[in-house]
């Protein structure tokens, strides 16, 4: 199986004719994702790559093609609006790749999405991939292998690094989800771990966190109380100085809160095997499986 996306995913690409949108839409199509529609206001009626119909609005795209998932490659200035539009069109899953959406906009986007029963993944994320089935986002398909490890991560290339370790050591993945590097995101560790725990084809999970906030600590509590499958975890930023934003808008230690040490302790107390470095993921998983 997998979580959130699989071969039944019918994808509408918002921003399909832009530089990033067109590049990644092609990659997703090449991977085997069912890209059924694209949206760029003003380019309705065109066909992308002679195959995918382009519409002016998401509502029209959904009406005509029965798309059930959206991916957003729209620049930051218009991305919040793109999420509102996707939720308004009744889509069940919305994946926002865009980095740079103002946090205050997200305080308004999140309740809107939630009320309409949609799941938002991101923003500021690489998306997700169920190897061999579907890819929604920019995670390179060629580093993934189908298998039974569920991966959930706040990072981009660090996620690829860990997927690479898994794939080259016989540990394929059921689904890899990038939840994103922003402080306000639509889907968190607990959401993904819950879904992985319920997925018959996921045997164990890897969670990749970083400094800032309390998402990992809350996830650790949740794992302790409710998760049956083995979990291995990594926290990036042990050497990060307090008070500085380390790239990701959400990667900042405020006062003494959100440190890597605090998170690693919380994970360990919950029975999660804690990696000290990316290469530890394979031996720790093998110990637990």
């Amino acid at each position: 199986m997998s979580i959130f996306i699989d071969q039944t995913t019918r994808l509408v690409v918002q921003g399909i004719t832009g530089r990033d949108g067109s590049f990644h839409a092609k990659n997703m199509m090449y991977y085997g994702t069912k890209v059924v529609a694209g949206v760029t206001p003003g380019k309705g009626g065109q066909r992308f790559e002679n195959a995918v119909p382009v519409f002016n609005t998401v509502a029209e795209a959904v009406h005509v093609t029965q798309a059930n998932t959206a991916v957003i490659y729209v620049p930051a200035a218009a991305a919040a609006s793109a999420i509102f539009e996707a939720a308004d069109a009744g889509l069940g899953l919305i994946v926002c790749i865009t980095e740079g959406i103002p946090v205050l906009d997200m305080t308004r986007v999140l309740p809107y999405v939630h009320e309409r029963g949609a799941r938002l993944i991101g923003p500021n994320c690489p998306g997700l991939i169920s190897p061999g089935k579907s890819k929604v986002g920019i995670i390179p398909g060629n580093i993934c292998e189908p298998g039974t490890i569920g991966v959930v991560s706040r990072s981009g290339t660090l996620t690829y690094e860990i997927i690479h370790q898994l794939s080259t050591n016989g540990l394929g993945q059921s689904t890899c989800v990038g939840i994103g590097g922003d402080p306000l995101i639509g889907t968190n560790f607990i959401h993904c771990l819950t879904a992985f725990d319920a997925d018959p084809d996921t045997a164990a999970m890897v969670m990749i966190g970083e400094i800032g906030g309390t998402d990992e600590q809350q996830a650790a509590e949740f794992v302790k109380e409710r998760v049956k499958k083995p979990v291995v975890g990594f926290i990036a930023g042990q050497t990060a100085p307090p008070g500085r934003r380390m790239g990701h808008a959400g990667a900042i230690i405020s006062g003494s809160s959100g440190t890597a040490a605090e998170k690693m302790t919380a994970l360990a107390n919950a029975g999660i095997s804690v990696m000290k470095r990316p290469a530890d993921v394979v031996p720790l998983l093998k110990e637990r499986l």
Partner: protein
């Protein structure tokens, strides 16, 4: 992006919050002139992006304009938490009866703006939270409705018993909330919110931090940036489209992706080295960006070796390799460089680098070990 106290006070004043007057001086003579204009006692306050200014001697009361000049002379040029004071704020000294705290921050856990008030003002709010958390009253605000009058009033009653002051505080809270959304703040604090002996409620000090993601759409706020308050290397990095934070070590790092960059720094330490910096070069293999990164990293005299860690997804390994070769031709290096390249076109990229005489490998642990050894002047 941080704002200085005087900038935060201006913003709050513009939103109708009672903020006493104040003017900025860059020289002792200017400070004296401002103090003379105000007449009477003034306070001279260092303008730096750091807390604990008072404890560091950066806030001084002056009884006369001459004294204001003397204090300004001592405070300007002073270093507080490794930041140099370049401006001071001169404000009429207020008579203070009580001090409270009012602040709004976007809270990640509730995903809402949270208003915090405390009758324990004039102290670091983190200290209050740690020692006497019952003195902090919090409210998560629903951004669809804003701060409702009855909510602000209830919080006002936790600060004061005189209903005139309660209403004044509630009004200030609502205006603070409006200001947060108007300027794109991630944090806005009034500490202390004071009452004067005659009963007036005023904001005596203000701190506002702006969400960096707001700057593109708020050029008038972006223009408030004080570049002189930032490290030149970090300014250069931002202008080159990189993210750079200087640390204390000697292994310079250049990585694509913030999470991987943090993990790389951590791995340097794991293998007994000390990272010299955090640098996220982003997703491009553009040689100009690589040159900019090398210039910034080698601008730190502590750097004894440089480690590149690139995981190519969309970015292709051969493009990255060519970028590094071109960059080092334009900007020759005096310290050893170790390049870890993996992902798309990894073999081609490593081939290009090896032929150009670089140590290039695909294993992250090996690359870090080599970079650490080279920084110590040894072979790995």
């Amino acid at each position: 992006m941080n704002l200085h106290e005087y900038q935060a006070r201006d913003i709050l004043r513009r939103h109708g919050i009672p903020v006493p007057p104040g003017e900025v001086a860059s020289t002792p003579a200017e400070a004296r002139a401002i103090a003379e204009r105000f007449g009477g006692k003034v306070v001279v306050k260092a303008q730096v992006h750091a807390g604990g200014r008072g404890k560091a001697g950066g806030v001084k009361l002056a009884k006369t304009a001459a004294e204001a000049e003397t204090h300004a002379k001592a405070i300007l040029g002073m270093t507080i938490k490794s930041l140099t004071v370049q401006k001071v704020l001169i404000a009429p000294a207020a008579e203070i009866a009580t001090e409270s705290y009012v602040g709004i921050i976007v809270d990640r856990a509730s995903q809402r703006p949270v208003l915090m008030v405390s009758p324990a003002g004039g102290i670091d709010i983190e200290e209050v939270a740690a020692k006497t958390p019952d003195k902090i009253h919090q409210l998560a605000i629903d951004p669809r409705y804003g701060l409702l009058p009855h909510q602000a009033l209830a919080l006002g009653f936790t600060l004061y018993s005189d209903v005139k002051q309660v209403r004044a505080a509630a009004d200030i809270m609502q205006k603070l909330y409006t200001a947060v959304y108007a300027v794109g703040a991630s944090l806005a604090e009034i500490n202390p919110l004071v009452t004067t002996p005659d009963g007036t409620v005023q904001a005596l000090d203000a701190k506002i931090a702006i969400d960096d993601n707001e700057l593109e759409r708020r050029p008038e706020i972006a223009a408030l940036r004080d570049v002189s308050a930032e490290a030149p290397a970090e300014v250069a990095a931002r202008e080159a489209g990189l993210t750079f934070i200087k640390l204390e070590g000697n292994v310079g790092c250049c990585v694509n992706g913030a999470g991987l960059a943090m993990a790389t720094m951590d791995l340097v330490k794991y293998y007994g080295g000390e990272p010299a910096n955090f640098l996220d070069i982003g997703g491009s293999s553009n040689p100009q960006k690589v040159v900019a990164a090398l210039r910034i990293i080698t601008g730190d005299p502590n750097v004894k070796s440089i480690l590149f860690n690139i995981f190519g997804g969309i970015t292709r390994g051969d493009d990255v390799a060519n970028g590094i070769v071109q960059a080092t031709q334009a900007f020759p290096l005096k310290v050893p460089i170790v390049i870890r390249l993996t992902g798309t076109n990894e073999k081609e990229g490593i081939g290009i680098l090896e032929r150009a005489g670089f140590a290039a490998l695909s294993d992250m642990d090996e690359a870090v070990k080599q970079a650490v050894a080279k920084a110590k002047g040894k072979a790995a």
